[in-house]
Symmetry: C2
Subunit: 493 residues, 2 copies
Amino acid sequence: MEGVSHEAASLAGHLGLDRLVCVFDDNRITIDGGTGLATSDDVAGRFRSYGWDVVELGEIGEDLDAIENALETARTPNGKPRLLVLRTHIGFPSPDHTDSHAAHGLAFSAEDVTRTKAVMGIPDEPFYLPSDLVDAYRSLTNARGTEAHLAWESLSSSARQRSEWNASFGDPPSAVVDAMPNWDLGAKVATRKAIQAALDASADLLPGLVSGSADLTGNTGTKVASFSGQSASNGDGHQVYYGIREHGMGSAMVGMALHGGILPVGGTFFVFVDYMRPPVRLAALSGARVVFVFTHDSVAVGEDGPTHQPVEQLAGLRSMPGLHVVRPADANETAVAWADAVTHDGPTALVLSRQDVRVVTDGTAAITGAGIVGEVDDNPDAIIIGTGSEVALCVDAAEALKSSGRSVRVVSMPSWDRFRAQPAELRYSILPPGVPTVSVEAGSTFGWHEWSDRQVGIDRFGASAPGDIALDRLGINVDAVVAAVHDVLGVAS
Amino acid sequence: MEGVSHEAASLAGHLGLDRLVCVFDDNRITIDGGTGLATSDDVAGRFRSYGWDVVELGEIGEDLDAIENALETARTPNGKPRLLVLRTHIGFPSPDHTDSHAAHGLAFSAEDVTRTKAVMGIPDEPFYLPSDLVDAYRSLTNARGTEAHLAWESLSSSARQRSEWNASFGDPPSAVVDAMPNWDLGAKVATRKAIQAALDASADLLPGLVSGSADLTGNTGTKVASFSGQSASNGDGHQVYYGIREHGMGSAMVGMALHGGILPVGGTFFVFVDYMRPPVRLAALSGARVVFVFTHDSVAVGEDGPTHQPVEQLAGLRSMPGLHVVRPADANETAVAWADAVTHDGPTALVLSRQDVRVVTDGTAAITGAGIVGEVDDNPDAIIIGTGSEVALCVDAAEALKSSGRSVRVVSMPSWDRFRAQPAELRYSILPPGVPTVSVEAGSTFGWHEWSDRQVGIDRFGASAPGDIALDRLGINVDAVVAAVHDVLGVAS
């Protein structure tokens, strides 16, 4: 019933993934009761509408030979994914619980066991198994299992020794770092454009790279110039058009990463991360090396308004264990973050701008999590911490404060998780204890109390307006930052 | 393509919602290009598999009479929701952009306009409209519009004067407050059981109450004893079996709330809020009065393990503007929070325990957002702030500290958003500035720096174990709280 089943099955049918065989255990029971409580779907018809080959096998749930035959037959590709439909009975053959929804979570009582064994015609003793069956099973399992395991091991290790596999993530990994483009200070580049340049520059070095988007390929910078589209007739295409299916895209990315040899990159607008929280969490939980490209990362999205303007999404991702979150200040931090994500042992979320942002860094803060922007002043009166498109604004605010005699350090802090992992000396050199801090980010201030004494942010939903006006009216401007610094210094503005 | 279309359409077909008419504007274009890039679905077949009446109307996108006739015909109920399929052409009749994906976002150039008007056979002048058409349109719109508006206003206001409508949210609202059950201090009650008692106690007082769950009805306490199941043959049933469709459930709840006269309550396990972030956000954005019941709210869920154990979900919800989030300490705070949610002008998320928790409060902190538990000590050495199932643990830790001569206040803080909205005097009376604070919550510490100097929490994914062992091993225990208090006081443990 879950929506992701539609997204994934529809895409699988479209791509003609004929090595995919799914078994539908149609026991017509859910936790609440019979499926008739909540669904009347013609499931076979539904999967046929996706272009699947649906095989209705009837009441063969207990017929192991029939199941084996069906699976063997399904192994022969016919251009379509297969759905094998088995009509089964939960709790079978208990005389009390067959076809009962209680059987989903029920621990059988001693009496339940006795009565079920009577139906099965076997002795009512604990752990009963016929000894000839145990012997046969053990010897067969041992012989066939050993053989199968050795065959798999040989296949698997030879696959992993192929040059394509080894090179999937760069060989050597530093090749990607060396290939990264670099932008001059002062240039104006949307970080979504920077990721596209970074992907193009590394495509030849990463045979495992598979890029795609949920119908926002051009918009999110995830079209790799040299890649052709994946399709039923072009299985080698490294560009995947996932369609308007964020949940399906994220799920497929995790699956490909856990298979190995593939580095999946997937793009959508940042606000739509809400549609794919489950696979983002699954990637974090399983340490899958995937790269999520989330662009249009603030109210600067503009006219599309609050439904398209992320506010709380950064807090949502930062609170997730095991997810590396980076919001680069500019094109240079974006390229460095990308090269780093290629070798990061887990998922990375890159949070990027729609609009042009001024290049103000050399990009290295993407490695350490935070870094000082511009000249290092040893005894600042205050520190302004910014992320993403707001770092250039922080530089402007620091300039304004300098003209009134204040020495203010600007710190770009693209990644909290990375900064937390640094040694204390490094952290203290960037954020010396005791120096008052102001954070600036065009999103929820939620969580920023960990780093700053005053927060400039957006603790409400956005508004439809041209991006620069939306930012300004929602308080993301030089005046607001200067006022917050004055406030934290306890001086009148 | 979005998964929620499957969840919603499947449920609508099952329930036989024959007042629902959807128009499928089948222009075969997405942002990335032709739909053939990403889908081969037989959409008509898919909706027929859901039990819809699919009407394939062909190329009538420009034939207003045919569209009107189709809509008129569809108004006659036939037991099924209707899908009207129109084959249309984006950008029509531009000779340059018809059927082009660029037309999705393209602003026509002056030349585009000229060439299109030539095709249409109308003069190439800005804002051209035949004056007789303008006159006819204005007079008709005025006459028919006025009439239609008056008819609607009369119908709408009479509906809103019906006693059922007025009483939907309690009449008077205090009736629900008065009807709430109360539990004795020391009783042990899972807060998911408390919400069930609260719902049962208010069902007769709230004609607009519609309760349901995404296939976890019994588990989440959202089965109202006196309600019958909503179905195609029982449209009056106030209990909705949404099936395994969190996204669809949340979306339907928002729709019902915005219709008016209905107070939708929907339950699922807290970790599955990830599947329904979009409708939770939509509820917050539109101020829809819905009540989300999220149970099984921590690693105390137990054996199901990390995939079923929420950790970062609380931070994710608290960072969302416009969402009232409550994690009640016990059964009393749960009942008070429920009665409050009934009159709250917006969405409420109740975050509840699977396991029994000791009753330690009178429930009032659910109104103010935070409150002192037990006797008020005017000059505490430190304050322990807990939420939900951890408040009883905080009381135990405070007792342990008392025996070693420390005076420690315990604060239950079920709702950050509500507490932030209190006057400063109240906030300072509960959390006096300068008194060191320790927070305790079986979830991510993300965001807690706003309130506490030390955080006891779980900044990793959970683990499969019996709930009490999972909690203990992940550091949610009296020893850890006592150590944190000693740490914040600067004394050796």
